[in-house]
């Protein structure tokens, strides 16, 4: 296997592992149009979301997510579909500020017809697809990889198979100079002091502890005590003895590397190293946060299996147990269950995950990409405030 990376260089020095043309509706009413345009195009992709431009209590978070997602280095160009609000303009301005160069804005009120909007968008999208296909990958440094670490549908084996094996791969990449980002604040509850102890300086350590406390306070506000009941009775029957052990099992996706920094939801890591990002446990919202934070490849470990994928980031699925891998081979890229069966060691599976990340970074399609799984969901801290569209 080649241990060299080949990627798409952007004007501002960032690297893309894909060369997507993204059709991005900035109002939920244009979501179906965006899908239609992408489906009839020569290879553009689209996402849909439920935000209709109302003045949401999470407005800043939503605008930031969409700006970041549009400017992800995996995107060659973006076709924005808008309905003409100030918020939509601020998303586009934000994307430009974050590095988006190639884009076209198509406004429904200016064009005056949905049919014409779609046909205009199709022409533009196809033009971008031709340009994107003509751009060549060139040899890239290890820092071109910005890996997102995710787990969903965990089982009793997650903490001893897929997660620590992914940690082996993550550590190797960080050692080489890549970036790796751990998310899911819910999952590290109880292990935050252990991650803080690995921080490169005390300030970073304090920030991760503060971030988890903030999350805990927000849960307590809702009247749920998540820490008191951990590990659960089922966890104890499965062999987990302490909350730290359970959270370490999830946090081990990030191996043992020093913690370089802490990121807010959707914030970009600016230097290589291992980071923690404050994301919700909901897989698809977390993927949106990773996309907004300019992560360009994701490894997703799962015990129950999931078809989840992203329109812009290749997502490599790793099973924690072999029966699940055998049951849905069209959804899962790699099996780590061999560790629990004593067939392979953690290091061997970690090396397989590492090799797969490099191959996927270099263009090999993941099963989620081949299946066309393009999930997206906006993350909100608060309940949606219904407002009039202006």
């Amino acid at each position: 296997m080649s241990e060299k990376l080949f990627a798409y260089l952007r004007d501002d020095g960032r690297w893309g592992l894909r060369n997507n043309v993204l059709v991005l509706p900035l109002h939920s009413a244009l979501a179906s149009s965006a899908r239609t345009i992408a489906d009839t195009s020569d290879g553009a992709v689209a996402i849909s979301h439920d935000w209709s431009g109302e003045i949401d209590s999470d407005l800043t978070r939503i605008l930031f997510t969409l700006s970041g997602y549009a400017s992800n280095p995996n995107n060659y160009a973006v076709v924005f579909l808008i309905i003409g609000s100030a918020e939509e303009k601020s998303i586009i301005d934000g994307a430009q500020a974050l590095g988006l160069k190639n884009f076209t804005v198509l406004s429904l009120p200016e064009i005056g017809s949905l049919e014409k909007l779609q046909s205009d968008a199709l022409v533009v999208a196809n033009k971008y697809v031709v340009e994107a296909k003509s751009q060549k990958r060139i040899e890239a440094p290890w820092s071109a990889i910005v890996l997102g670490l995710e787990c969903g549908g965990s089982d009793a084996l997650s903490g001893i198979t897929a997660n620590p094996a992914l940690g082996v791969a993550s550590d190797r990449l960080v050692e080489l100079g890549a970036t790796s980002v751990l998310g899911e604040t819910t999952e590290i509850l109880g292990a935050e002091h252990l991650l803080a102890a690995r921080a490169i300086d005390p300030e970073v350590g304090k920030r991760i502890v503060a971030m988890v406390s903030r999350y805990e306070a927000s849960i307590n506000y809702e009247g749920i005590d998540i820490r008191g009941a951990q590990p659960s009775r089922g966890n104890i029957e499965g062999g987990l003895s302490t909350l730290e052990e359970k959270s370490l099992g999830a946090a081990k996706k990030a191996g043992n590397a020093p913690l370089t920094g802490v990121l807010e939801f959707g914030e970009r890591p600016l230097t290589p190293g291992l980071y923690f990002m404050d994301t919700p446990g909901h897989d698809i919202e977390q993927l949106a946060g990773f996309g907004a934070g300019h992560i360009n490849v994701v490894v997703f470990t799962s015990g129950r299996g999931t078809p989840t994928g992203s329109a812009i980031m290749p997502t490599i699925k790793v099973s924690t147990n072999t029966p699940m891998y055998s049951a849905i081979p069209d959804l899962i890229d790699l099996d780590a269950g061999t560790i629990a069966d004593g067939i392979e060691t953690l290091a061997q599976v970690g090396d397989r995950i590492f090799d797969e990340i490099i191959e996927v970074a270099n263009g090999k399609l993941t099963k989620a990409e081949r299946g066309g799984h393009h999930e997206f969901a906006l993350s909100r801290m608060y309940k949606t405030v219904i407002g009039e569209y202006q």
């Binding site: 062999g239 003895s241 052990e245 081990k252 043992n256």
Partner: protein, 91 residues
């Protein structure tokens, strides 16, 4: 076929990959452990002597501490260890 999984060389416990019975012997790589209790698959076995109040190390990190002395080959679980964070709340 391996019977236990050591997640990190610094660990003083291993995870059982099969149900272990009293008197079983685990011989793997350069270790040999006589099993002292019945230990279900997925549960932990001590690979080193752990004194009372010593840290229990898994993944190379401290996941809690012993509340009783633990011998090599003994089942390590909620009856003889406690998390560091919640000990005050639980006692």
């Amino acid at each position: 076929m391996r019977k236990i999984l050591i997640l990190d060389s610094r660990d003083n416990i291993a995870v059982c990959l099969v149900d272990l019975e009293i008197g079983d012997t685990v011989e793997q790589d350069d270790i040999s452990i006589k099993v002292l209790n019945r230990i279900p698959r997925g549960h932990k076995i001590a690979t080193q002597v752990i004194s009372k109040n010593d840290g229990v190390i898994k993944y190379g990190e401290r996941m809690g501490h012993a509340v009783a002395p633990i011998a090599i080959g003994e089942h390590v679980h909620v009856h003889n260890i406690l998390g560091d964070r919640l000990s005050s709340a639980q006692s």
